[in-house]
Symmetry: C2
Subunit: 106 residues, 2 copies
């Protein structure tokens, strides 16, 4: 059983190498996504557009759930992830709005 265990251990290291590569990809994609959402936040603050857009959010959720389903990811997990990311986006937008109104004297 020792060879079997050695093989299992080697397989585990292979999977971990893939997980590490996928995690690096996740981080970089998220960094780029936040660059986009920060630009959106600055644009909305500059043009006094409403921060929230419920119709857009509904479409995003429906689309992500469909994509998740197609790629055999739990759609509930995909929706929870979007909520998790959106909370961070709102935090950034509030910071941008605060800075914007500070720059404009209050």
């Amino acid at each position: 059983m020792s060879t079997g265990m050695d093989e299992a251990r080697a397989k585990l290291l292979e999977y971990r190498a893939s997980i590490d590569n996928l995690d690096a990809a996740l981080i970089h994609i998220l960094a780029e996504r936040f660059r986009c959402t920060k630009a959106v936040g600055a644009l909305k603050a500059a043009y006094k557009m409403p921060a929230a857009d419920p119709e857009r959010e509904k479409q995003q959720i429906a689309r992500l759930r469909r994509l998740a389903d197609e790629s055999r990811l739990d759609p509930d997990f995909a929706e929870k992830l979007l909520t998790f990311i959106t909370r961070e986006v709102i935090r950034h937008h509030e910071a941008i709005a605060d800075q914007h109104s500070a720059n404009n004297g209050g």
Copy 2:
């Protein structure tokens, strides 16, 4: 100001197209990551390896924080994201372990 507003609106749609593409990439990378972690779960269950590996987890957190920092993503957010994903991985592993012990008669 109407032309400025039209341009702002057009820019917003451009950013949203990027966000949608990045979200699709996120979903597919996560789907592949869960394929890997499910395979790890099955391997660990089959070879009765311990489910948790605190040393590996410490390395993963440190690495993700470093990658986040390099790509100007908040390292705290990256760490929270890993925790969020890991909770889902544990849920999968428990399901795999339950199925494995059910297949082996309890």
